[in-house]
């Protein structure tokens, strides 16, 4: 663990009032020189009611553990989240297929966070368009008395843009070439069940492994090459 990360963890520990996160912060995080093959990561996906981290909220969280260059399917999890402070699912139900009635069986946001935090200890986070996951997670953590996550975030969308720009110039986002679907199709990855949070997390993890393979393989690629 680098000094910088040590300081970051120490600061986070001091300001954190959320017991589940305090435990998480005991674990050292991977250093920037860690090779993928020696690293554990969690691919994460949130389904949300919208993109506004203050007014929208998480309705489902899916994740899967990536150990080195292997996706551990047994770890794939999906948790529905109920948020009594907000209105119903509204229009986004069209996209996610998750109806309010489904959410009756769902967990409190706090229970979801507790489970997720236990998975994140000492691990980097993989997400496609990671700003969403990062934003919603940090907002929720702060609301619950916690603090922003010190874990490194690997954004497969940004990685993809870098890999593509290496090939043929920039300006791809607008053309929709960087969606998870488009990235997977370009790499010949199979179809998946869209808008299930767990399936999206596995899909992002597979894309990540394909990107690492392109960058030279898990033995060679380090965390610093990825974020």
């Amino acid at each position: 663990m680098s000094t910088l990360q040590g300081i970051r963890l120490a600061l986070a520990r001091r300001s954190c009032k959320l017991p589940a996160q305090q435990r998480l912060l005991e674990h050292p995080l991977p250093a920037r020189g860690t090779r993928v093959t020696d690293m554990e990561m969690v691919a994460l996906d949130f389904e949300t009611t919208g993109l506004d981290t203050r007014n929208d909220h998480i309705i489902a969280a899916g994740w899967v553990l990536v150990r080195g260059d292997r996706i551990i399917m047994a770890s794939a999890s999906e948790i529905r989240v109920r948020d009594d402070t907000a209105e119903g699912v509204g229009q986004s139900a069209v996209i996610h297929g998750i109806l309010d009635s489904d959410l009756n069986e769902a967990a409190e946001a706090e229970a979801m966070i507790e489970q997720l935090l236990a998975e994140l200890a000492g691990r980097a986070i993989i997400a496609h368009a990671a700003a969403i996951e990062r934003g919603f997670l940090n907002t929720l953590l702060r609301r619950l008395g916690g603090t922003s996550l010190p874990n490194p975030f690997i954004d497969t969308m940004i990685l993809e843009r870098q890999l593509l720009e290496g090939e043929r110039g920039s300006g791809r986002e607008r053309q929709g070439e960087l969606t998870l679907d488009a990235c997977r199709t370009r790499r010949g990855l199979p179809d998946y069940q869209r808008h299930s949070a767990a399936a999206d997390a596995v899909a992002a993890a597979e894309l990540f492994l394909a990107q690492v393979a392109q960058l030279g393989g898990a033995q060679k690629v380090m965390l610093r090459d990825l974020c």
């Binding site: 899916g62 899967v64 260059d69 292997r70 996706i71 551990i72 399917m73 047994a74 794939a76 999890s77 999906e78 297929g97 998750i98 489904d102 790499r187 010949g188 990855l189 199979p190 998946y192 069940q193 299930s196 767990a198 399936a199 596995v202 993890a205 597979e206 492994l209 394909a210 690492v212 393979a213 392109q214 393989g217």
Partner: protein, 618 residues
Amino acid sequence: MNSALADVEKFLAQTPPFDLLDPALRHRAATAIEATYRRKGTALLEIGDSNATLYLLRRGAVEAHDRHGNLVGRYGEGESFGVQSLLTGKPVRSRITLIEDGLIWSMPQVAFDALRAASSEFDTHYIRSLEERLIAGVQAKPKNSSGHELFMTPMGELLRHPLVVVTTDTTIAEAAGVMSEHAVSSLLVNEGDSVRGIVTDRDLRNRVLAQGRDPAQSVREIMTTDPVTLDASRPVLEGIIAMAGRGIHHLPLTRDGRVVGMLTTRDVMTLQTRHPLYLAAQIQKAGSIEDLASICAEVPRLFELLLASGMRAEQIPKVLTTINDAVMRRLIGLAQQQLGPAPAPFAWLVFGSQARAEQSIKTDQDNGLVYADDAPANADAWFASMARIVCDGLNGCGYPYCPGKIMAITDAWRQPLSGWLDHFRKWSTVPDPEAVLRISIFFDLRAVDGEHALAAQISRALGECGARRDKGAFISALARQAASYDVPLGFFRRFVVASQGENRETLDVKASGLLPLTDLVRVRALEAGITVPSTQERIAQMLDMNRLSHTDADRLAGAHILLTGLRVRLHAEQMRRGEKPDNHLDPREISHSEREALREAFLVIREAQQGLLLDFPR
């Protein structure tokens, strides 16, 4: 919504043998999977590696190469590798290399073993012997349980006439007119879409004429209401019981609850007349070539019926050969009626697939004639006339002339015994595989009629040809010829992978399978001095003589059954579609288990070919 592993489970559900697992076990399998991604060119397994992992390709493709660098297989999505080393615990035998970027699923041996312990179906997939796997390929399809009896044929197969329907407001007179117009003996009476009754020609007699009823009345007055119906998929036997028990002669058949046709006692009777035994008897009684030809017109239909009745596909060539033999004997009989008695003892010979009793539906003639050496001087003219009648007759009965003229009408193939013995003596020194190819057909030989003793002497000469290892030019030429066929490696996606690795659109079941197999069995049989023509019989005799191990005999026999059955089913399907039968099988039309079985059969043949090359070096 589904579990977090819904995608993984869905793929497993479509992927043999994981499709055999129940949902709970499939979930367990899914949780045992780890996924990795590797670039094209990466070697996933090396020869000599110990392996405790089952690999399943989720995306991409791999090639397997043996230690000599020969391509031995190509696999795509949904196919496993590493299985052999996993099952045997022995080191990996082929190098597995990605030929496309791949997403690879792996499952540790512990989890694989646990699945096998928990599901007998899944386990059976892996423990079956090679021969069982080969035969399972053929038997997967016909699910008719008990058997061979024609009376197990689904009734729907017997429907002859289109269903003729009238409505309840039709008059008796109109109904009689409709019957006679369509040449049917019964009508279905409907009201709207629902069946109200049936009217038969018997009703017209018993309930109209005999009772002096007014034909202007509605058919409603004379119809039998609420007739007994049966599903068209039920066996004929059930129909016979239903009709006999009620003394009725017409049985409406349904599919999905809708009446699709009327089965009559006459239809059931014609079933009997299509039984091969009945057909053979009719052939024996035929008084003219025209009679024979019209009986033979029933043969393609018999072919379909035998399959539909649940006869195993690989048995059908025997039945077809029996019929062909019977037709031949009858033609010989008819020729003798016309020409008078033969001037000398003779035997009518058949060669190739007819001799082996491995005929398919469309077969050219391959025949010849041998007569006694002490025949009178002008005897050949008489035999030539007989051969002309028989060969022309066969052609008229649906067995076309041999394009290579291997027929008794050709002088070279109509010889006294000494002539045939000369042929074989000459052939036994032929050193050239090309020339061997032209004569190899004569090494499957059988007498269909006449003095079998004459044919037996030829067989003896034939047996001596092969046993001469000292002058072995002929037998090694035959061996090299048998080893030279291009036998595929297997299948890859929608293609057949030929032995040099190129992808082909279709599989030629004959050229890439049956031909090399029968040829190499023939070589081995000749080498052992075995002269019976049938491939299965040759294999059995070689086993008895300890020329083959049980394993090898089972494998060769299994491969032969598989290929024969597939070819029969292919021909039946082509005829059903109104196409001319050929041997080109589209890999997309065969099941996963057939693909696997075929891959094994190819392996068996290629290994036997390699064995030939080792035993008969140049």
